[in-house]
């Protein structure tokens, strides 16, 4: 109806919340680095590559915080970045058979018309149903909380896809030849967001987080009380999607 007006209000609110959040985060680490952007704050607490030969530490739990107030409907920078990083190329005719590790969802509350836009991907549950149901143990949770599919022993039964409450998993329906050398993917196996494990292990951010033009995605260690993400979750209201399932997800949302 009066969409233009809505948009103006929306971006105004978004800008305000963004600034407030940045200020808040700045306060949290003010003694260290006042005025830093969120993303750099997060980087400062997580960006150390693990030494060769060392396993993923069980003291760490990787997580992500997504501020939906900053996430614009129609923007899919995170999706594009994910596809490039992980070599996901759409080659099937029926899009329902293609892989989507991350997707943008538009929400509308029918009661009051309020809308949100947000990226949805594997929520990296602490108690992942996919890991519970996998017959071979191919669905697994790494010590640092990242949920992965071990394609060496995935038999392609798709039981995990039946079990996932977030529709986060895709089944590779056709032969592939465009894999990133660091991101193996292949026919007949199930796959999903890995938090860009190949980057995280080098001390980098997931590709989507890095690509978000609004800085709406924050990545870090939920277990480290000094990390940007842990501090914001301690201070601000955040939501777990399908919290009723008590999966204790690693991806948290704000503003929904």
């Amino acid at each position: 109806m009066n969409e233009p007006q809505d948009k103006v209000q929306d971006s105004g609110r978004r800008g305000f919340i963004g600034a407030a959040a940045a200020a808040g985060a700045g306060l949290g680490v003010a003694a260290l680095a006042p005025g830093l952007h969120l993303i750099e704050v997060a980087g400062a607490t997580s960006a150390t590559a693990r030494a060769a030969g060392e396993p993923a530490p069980s003291t760490v739990r990787w997580g992500m915080l997504i501020d939906t107030a900053k996430c614009a409907s129609g923007c899919d920078a995170c999706v594009q970045a994910c596809n490039t990083e992980n070599g996901i190329v759409e080659t099937v005719k029926d899009a329902r058979q293609g892989s989507q590790w991350i997707r943008k969802i538009d929400l509308k509350d029918p009661k009051n018309g309020r809308t949100h836009s947000l990226p949805m991907m594997c929520q990296h549950c602490e108690n992942p149903p996919c890991v519970d149901v996998c017959p071979t143990g191919a669905s697994m949770k790494r010590a640092d909380g990242i949920v992965l599919v071990d394609r060496h022993i995935c038999i392609g039964c798709r039981y995990c896809m039946m079990a996932c409450p977030y529709k986060a998993r895709s089944f590779v329906h056709q032969p592939l030849d465009t894999q990133n050398p660091e991101v193996p993917r292949g026919i007949g196996c199930v796959e999903s967001c890995t938090f860009c494990v190949q980057r995280v292990d080098k001390g980098m951010q997931p590709a989507c987080v890095e690509a978000c033009p609004e800085g709406a995605m924050l990545f870090g260690d939920l277990n480290d009380p000094n990390s940007g993400i842990a501090q914001r979750i301690a201070r601000e209201a955040t939501t777990q999607v399908r919290a009723d399932l008590k999966l204790n997800v690693g991806v948290r949302y704000q503003g929904i």
Binding site: R50, A51, A52, G53, E54, P55, A56, Q80, C82, N83, T84, E85, N86, G87, I88, V89, E90, T91, M140, R142, A143, D144, L148, D150, R151, H152, P175, L176, D177, T178, Q179, N180, P181, E182, V183, P184, R185, G186, I187, G188, C189, V197, D201, K202
Partner: protein, 123 residues
């Protein structure tokens, strides 16, 4: 476990021996990049699959990076200069595996081309 390994090795030897007896041409193994592999050729021929299997579980399941054995490093050294791949005719992996009639299971998922850059765009 040891018995299993011995019998697999024996089977493998037998597989190698059968075409040899039948007079099938031996595979031509081209080493295009000079330098030293991570272990002597004899050991690599016999044990590369064990090394890779061991490494794959350590890296995949435990997140251990920078292992001595690495499939990507195999490709980087051994991909054909002409095709850029370890597969295809004269491909380093395929040449020998075709000869030995052992199925290659790596390349359904792993990228067989050295230095391949994924773009996420339609080819």
């Amino acid at each position: 476990m040891k018995l299993l390994r011995i019998s697999v090795a024996a089977l493998f030897a037998a597989l190698l021996a059968v075409p040899a007896l039948a007079g099938a041409p031996k595979p031509v193994i081209k080493i295009e990049s000079p330098g030293q592999c991570i272990a002597p050729a004899e050991e690599m021929r016999r044990n590369h699959m064990e090394m890779l299997k061991h490494q794959r579980d350590r890296t995949m399941r435990h997140g251990i990076r920078g292992e001595k054995a690495s499939l990507n490093e195999c490709i980087n050294c051994h991909a054909s200069k002409a095709t850029g791949s370890v597969l295809g005719k004269d491909g380093f992996c395929q040449e020998c595996h075709s000869y030995a009639a052992v199925k290659l299971d790596c390349w359904d998922c792993h990228q067989p081309k050295a230095g391949f850059k994924a773009t996420g765009a339609k080819p």
